[in-house]
Symmetry: C2
Subunit: 373 residues, 2 copies
Amino acid sequence: MVGLEFNILGTSAGGGRRGQINLPHRAVQTPVFMPVGTAGTVKAVPQDVLETLGAEIILGNTYHLYLRPGHEAIRRMGGLHRFMSWPRAMLTDSGGFQVFSLAQLRKVTDEGVRFQSHLDGSSHFFTPEHSIDVQIALGADICMAFDECTEYPADRSRAEESLRLTMAWARRSLDHFRAHQHEVPWHDELGGRKQSLFGIVQGGMYKDLRRESAERLVEMDFDGYAIGGLSVGEPPELTLEMIAEVLPLLPADKPRYVMGVGYPDQIERYARMGVDMMDCVLPTRAARHGLLFTSEGRINIKGARYAEDQGPADPACNCPVCQRYSRAYLRHLMQAREALSGTLNSIHNLAYYLGIMERVRKSLAIKGSELAS
Amino acid sequence: MVGLEFNILGTSAGGGRRGQINLPHRAVQTPVFMPVGTAGTVKAVPQDVLETLGAEIILGNTYHLYLRPGHEAIRRMGGLHRFMSWPRAMLTDSGGFQVFSLAQLRKVTDEGVRFQSHLDGSSHFFTPEHSIDVQIALGADICMAFDECTEYPADRSRAEESLRLTMAWARRSLDHFRAHQHEVPWHDELGGRKQSLFGIVQGGMYKDLRRESAERLVEMDFDGYAIGGLSVGEPPELTLEMIAEVLPLLPADKPRYVMGVGYPDQIERYARMGVDMMDCVLPTRAARHGLLFTSEGRINIKGARYAEDQGPADPACNCPVCQRYSRAYLRHLMQAREALSGTLNSIHNLAYYLGIMERVRKSLAIKGSELAS
């Protein structure tokens, strides 16, 4: 069975690397930013536009899709790729983060987490095994181990206890995944190509716990490694410190993924440090509130100063929105609360984020003359 | 100055005709359905998609655009075409219908209508002259005379009084339009091409009043003629009766436009009777509520029966939505209240409406072998 292959095509002195992750549905160029498609849609952006923007891999949220429309329904329909008509690569999170941030009345035991749906209050129980079952049913190219995202701030004993759970759940996630990964809906269709599973480094803001977490996960031998529990309220210096601490401990020949980050300057910096994958709701969520990321900095398109500004959102941007629409028009759509506002703003912000990664990739050295052009 | 030219390319025994309206921004094939772009956007549908669907002319609402962002701002930005980046043809209504249906605390005099904005309660005064000024500033290819849309039901004396106003306002609209139409923002840019003005037949559900209205408008010599005050709550037979009564009284060599209609079977029927232009919010409004028009009839995509239906919304449709997405996915988007739902549903419904008109056009005989292919 062919699963994830990761080829490093170039490296920089700062630790950054350009690579390619071969996944069942797509060869993905890294470093890569993954737009978030929570409920089977990157909010307000049609799939063909995502393709045009060059999105090679998007993220789906297991918690949301499990609750609605349900993973069994998605499995019966051939998996999430087919359900949402997304032919390129996809990654699902484990549901853990949402169980801890969205669900109600949580009760955590070694076995798993009992919680109530934020949609209808119905009761559910998630274990590492169940999370993996759901993710196999959804059929993303990359699944994530079920973890407990340690909150911030967390004292030492809380962080230790949380890490203990996450490590035990990582082991169980991996064992269950290996036993069942052939059940992915597209297994036969794609000639037996297989899903991958990433482990998630936790440990709060304690460097030694982060190190312990990374080392133990590496021993388990995942297909890739994520750094989780960041961007949860801590100061940005601390985020950076934790990433810098963990990255050198992760195998150089496997993808490294920092979850849930960040602002444009952050994702560029992390990518140049050697982070291969990132995801964040920020570009799309900010877009819906009128916050646009541009080469001239952030602008709040609702501002009266843009009322008759006929220039594009970002003069340096060649996305379809900047090529066609003015700041004045984008402002008007916000003012009038028109649905097109969220769509156009999101398209621009995603183009901006994807453009950053493209620029970083180009700036990283390429080994081999055939790729130098 | 070149304005509207209307060429009839073919006719049918039933009165239907295939034609082409040459407008400053586009040669429009008729009979044509015009998607409604109330506030400078056909709700939830990006402009490039409208182009792909083959929309040749869209409608803008003068009342909405006058209130927000304001016609003077739009004039300064070069007109509505440029403001919303719509290069094809456009028609604006007079604002009359919205003043009577949306605004508050209306006071009608012979001079005009004082009303309060539905947005912020601010006080405004619309006269025929002002409506025309606003429409010239917006710069659509076709403007409409300022009229009073007679409500349904209306007794005879009310309908007579309403018609008296509409006829006086039509005269004033036309006089003011002729004196000012050179002020359109794109006048120089398009080599002096000019806007057109249509008169609106009213008269409630009284045939003799409708006849009187049509005859008096024709005497005034507008560029085209609309039948207004229909689809305001009357039974469909009555709508049909009024259209059948008025159509023969309108000049055969000018476009005939029935405002605010209708369901798919209605627009097809009216087109085959000789109506050249129609507009309606129905395809987009229904879409946002999950009602899809298909070759198999209307379906409510929210229905549980579609939960795992992997077929397209309409098996006979080749719109981008039916080519890519399943009923199950469209249902899921509605259930999850995702913004993409309104976009995809609207695209399909508009494709369906535009497709009806395309089919009708093809079925109408063409004079001249060069157009017969």
